[in-house]
């Protein structure tokens, strides 16, 4: 692999692909230097909070609005947190790595929330710790209002423990199935009794509901509280393996190479769960750039959209159209299918999602109408087809500038190399009847649309 190819791979996995400007400015730099820049930018950006759309009004202050209006308003505001975030992922001036890490943890600590302010707080919490320490991140999530509600921990009381949070903490967030007993779940649940939140979504420790008694967790006796339970879970190497495996699936390959995962788990554990160390171990490994790990992952709907936005500076007149596309493709931010998150991989693909994915470039570039109905509302009984016009504008110039001086014979190869991560050769004859050759710009544009309509574009 040559350096530009390595950078493309890095940028797809650590972010959402390269914008033409990034490509021009970085293609000559060393991989290590670019990795260092990615981390540096991410750390700077992680200090900034997402505040947009909060307007300082929390739902509790909207008492005058009717319940229905409030629900509608909340839906719109959650929707704008969603679309703001997708646009941030697609914005080359933002830190791609930080957004990608946040997306990873957002899927890991999967949580559905209906209160916009709470959703924003959770997102800020994840951003803050996304490249920090995993222990801090788990502790913060255990105190997050949305998560407490989602996993019923506000109902976890001394007299009547609710195990939901304690169970998912172990099964899905940290150590994984098979490494604890049912008894451990029960005892951990006791340690998290009284961990609740107030109406603003802020963490509240309800002393009177907390069980201060002795618990036996992982065979150890003590008056454990929630923090100590988390520490004891993290003391087990299995936790570092569980997270390393998940990160490997997300950033490297759905197919696991056990040796690589073992190595990552060791780095992660030995660094005391430093997430940056784990991520550097991935991006700085030789095997990360092995052919078998390049162009083999099916992009999630969000990665697909953010990637297109990033490459072509797509702007939406009505960003809510993005949510409609997310729904049709099966990934809505702040709305995972369940606490296990999005399954990913081949599960993104069926006949309906594939056709929409292959047409997505046409949709964005041509303001197409999406003639689809979406399964969503349990309430509304609108069975009439909803046509959604996606009004987007594209800045094609930076992309065109990359290729305007390219020899026509090499154009397909060069453009394919920029747009696609797969290694197969593109065949001129595939495109023959589907491009317009009037002038260079038409040629580049139509060819670009065609390449983005290939199944290969679904991979990264």
């Amino acid at each position: 692999m040559n350096t530009p190819q390595r950078l493309q791979h890095l940028y797809w996995r650590a972010g959402f692909g390269m914008s033409p400007k990034e490509w021009s400015s970085k293609k000559k730099r060393s991989t290590q230097k670019v990795i260092d820049e990615l981390f540096k930018n991410a750390h700077q950006a992680s200090q900034r909070k997402v505040v947009k759309n909060g307007n300082g009004i929390e739902s509790s202050e909207m008492a005058m609005a009717s319940k229905k209006e409030k629900r509608k308003e909340n839906k719109i505001r959650i929707g704008s947190h969603n679309t703001d975030w997708v646009l941030r992922m697609g914005n080359p001036d933002e830190s791609a790595l930080l957004e990608k890490m946040t997306l990873f943890w957002h899927g890991h600590f999967a949580c559905r929330t209906k209160v916009p302010g709470w959703a924003r707080n959770q997102l800020n919490t994840i951003r803050k710790h996304a490249l920090g320490n995993f222990r801090e991140l788990v502790l913060a999530i255990a105190r997050d209002g949305s998560m407490i509600r989602y996993l019923n921990n506000q109902q976890n009381k001394k007299r009547k423990p609710n195990e939901n949070f304690a169970r998912e903490l172990m099964e899905l967030f940290t150590i994984g199935r098979g490494n604890y007993t049912e008894k451990d779940v029960k005892e951990a649940a006791r340690a998290f009794t009284g961990w609740s939140s107030n109406l603003k979504g802020d963490f509240v420790f309800r002393k009177r509901q907390h069980d201060f008694g002795q618990k036996i967790f992982f065979g150890k006796k003590g008056k454990w509280d929630g923090d100590e339970i988390i520490d004891m879970i993290l003391e087990k190497r299995e936790t570092s393996e569980f997270i390393a495996r998940k990160a490997y699936r997300f950033f490297v390959n759905d197919k696991i190479d056990e040796r690589n995962v073992e190595y990552l788990a060791r780095v992660f554990y030995d660094s005391n769960y430093d997430i940056e160390k784990l991520m550097r171990a991935i991006f700085e490994s030789k095997w990360f750039f092995d052919e078998e790990n390049v162009g083999v992952k099916i992009k999630s709907p969000i990665e697909l959209l953010a990637g297109m936005i990033r490459t072509f500076e797509v702007e939406f007149r009505n960003p809510a159209a993005l949510i409609f596309i997310e729904k049709a493709l099966g990934q809505v931010l702040f709305d995972p299918p369940n606490v296990a998150g999005w399954a990913g991989g081949k599960s993104w693909i069926d006949n309906s999602t594939l056709m929409l994915r292959l047409n997505m470039a046409n949709v964005l570039f041509q303001n197409s109408e999406l003639n689809l109905k979406i399964k969503e509302d349990f309430k509304a009984q609108k069975r009439n087809k909803r046509k959604r016009k996606v009004q987007a504008s594209v800045n094609f110039k930076p992309f065109y500038n990359l290729f305007k001086r390219e020899n026509e014979k090499l154009l397909l190869k060069k453009m394919g190399g920029f747009i696609l991560q797969t290694k197969g050769q593109l065949n001129e004859s595939t495109f023959e009847n589907f491009i317009i050759k009037n002038n260079k710009e038409d040629l580049v544009k139509t060819l670009c649309l065609r390449i983005m309509s290939l199944p290969e574009y679904q991979l990264m």
Binding site: S347, D350, F365
Partner: protein
């Protein structure tokens, strides 16, 4: 180039250009083939249908005590047994009941019920326990298992634009199509046809998977389009999208399409506010469409080989709320309709309104027993393999 020109230029060779290859390559032998095998039709009520106002325990004082305004008066109930009857909007379904074409299973649910729409629907789709998370559906796993004829994705067809989790397997998926003409128009994209044609085998698994899905989509789109033209029903269906979905299913079945499982949806059952009229409208839509559908199948000699299962992700609380509606509950009734039911009428006794769990019904029949029976008796598959554990069968 100006934007307008660009749009013009790029549409020239784009999706809007289509040449329907009508009936090209129809396998007429296939169309004429005499039909064989059984069909399953699954109807999903989304939102949590209020089972207690669907099949009404009109003799039960507790029902009326819990639902002072929402309860359906005994003299309005379409009585079919000495303690149960249909919602007055369901006259046409009641006729099916009277003809012995219906079996109603009361109090269907699962242990530790979840009251979230999404999660509970997930559980019904994946057939998981309530603390277990699966990313494949029970019918998807049926497609994965060694069922004969599962090669083509349209073997399990959802009449909708998007595919439900129920129909997603590990290796195989069902097929989503809301309208054959629209599907044909989308898949008649010349460029996409050309790339399938030009594609040479690669070894990377996911590239192959995407190309195969694309090629299958083209093939299924053509197949379904042709099959949809074979037979036009003579039965008059009510207006509306749901009835139209059932009509399409009946036409494909009559054309002997190579489809084993059909899946259709009716949404809007989340009636927290002003339930009475909303639910009545939905139940009428369902009943009238179902009545036409059953008549259609009967006319074409298909009813004995068809089983129609209707479910919802949960029922509603026994007590009505303050807004003339009901909130999320637990156990609910499941309808089975077909010409060959072993146990007609009510499968079990009415829900127990005395013994509740914090105001909610306690389930009597695990829904996975119904799945297990359908998989074993109706689809000739191995229920234990597909459901991951053994469930006692019931009589269907």
């Amino acid at each position: 180039m100006k934007r307008r020109n660009f749009i013009k230029a790029s549409t020239i060779a784009s999706t809007s250009v289509m040449v329907p290859q009508f009936l090209k390559g129809v396998n007429s032998e296939n169309i004429a083939r005499s039909r064989q095998g059984k069909n399953l039709v699954v109807i999903q009520f989304s939102g949590g249908n209020d089972g207690l106002n669907t099949i009404i325990p009109y003799q039960n004082d507790r029902y009326y005590k819990n639902r002072p305004t929402l309860g359906i008066k005994a003299n309005e109930v379409l009585k079919v047994s000495d303690n149960l009857g249909f919602n007055p909007a369901m006259a046409s379904l009641r006729s099916l009941y009277d003809e012995g074409l219906m079996s109603i299973i009361n109090s269907v649910g699962y242990p530790n019920p979840d009251r979230s729409h999404f999660r509970s629907m997930d559980i019904w789709h994946t057939a998981s326990d309530s603390n277990e998370y699966l990313s494949t559906g029970w019918l998807g796993r049926y497609l994965d298992s060694n069922c004969s004829g599962c090669q083509s994705p349209h073997h399990a067809l959802e009449v909708d634009d998007t595919l439900s989790l129920s129909l997603k397997g590990v290796e195989k998926n069902g097929f989503a199509m809301s309208n054959p003409n629209q599907l044909k128009r989308i898949s008649d994209n010349k460029f996409l046809k050309s790339i399938v044609h030009h594609h040479e085998h690669e070894h990377e698994e996911n590239v192959e998977y995407l190309y195969k899905t694309l090629a299958d989509t083209h093939a299924s789109a053509n197949y379904l389009y042709q099959k949809s033209k074979v037979h036009k029903t003579e039965v008059k269906y009510p207006k509306g999208a749901f009835a139209n979905d059932l009509k399409q299913i009946a036409e494909l079945m009559t054309a002997d399409a190579d489809i084993k499982i059909y899946y259709a949806n009716l949404g809007g059952f989340d009636t927290h506010v002003g339930q009475k009229n909303k639910q009545a409208r939905l139940l009428k839509t369902y009943s009238d469409a179902m009545s036409a559908f059953v008549k259609d199948l009967k006319n074409n000699g298909l009813l004995d080989d068809t089983l129609i299962m209707t479910f919802s992700e949960f029922g509603r609380r026994v007590q009505q709320n303050a807004s003339g509606g009901t909130d999320h509950g637990t156990a609910n009734n499941v309808f089975l309709i077909g010409g060959n039911l072993k146990r007609k009428g009510f499968y079990n006794s009415a829900p127990d309104l005395k013994k509740l769990d914090k105001g909610d019904l306690i389930y009597q029949v695990d829904f996975r027993k119904i799945y297990a029976t359908i998989l074993d008796d109706w689809l000739d598959a191995s229920p234990t393999q597909i459901l991951g554990k053994q469930f006692e069968k019931i009589i269907i």
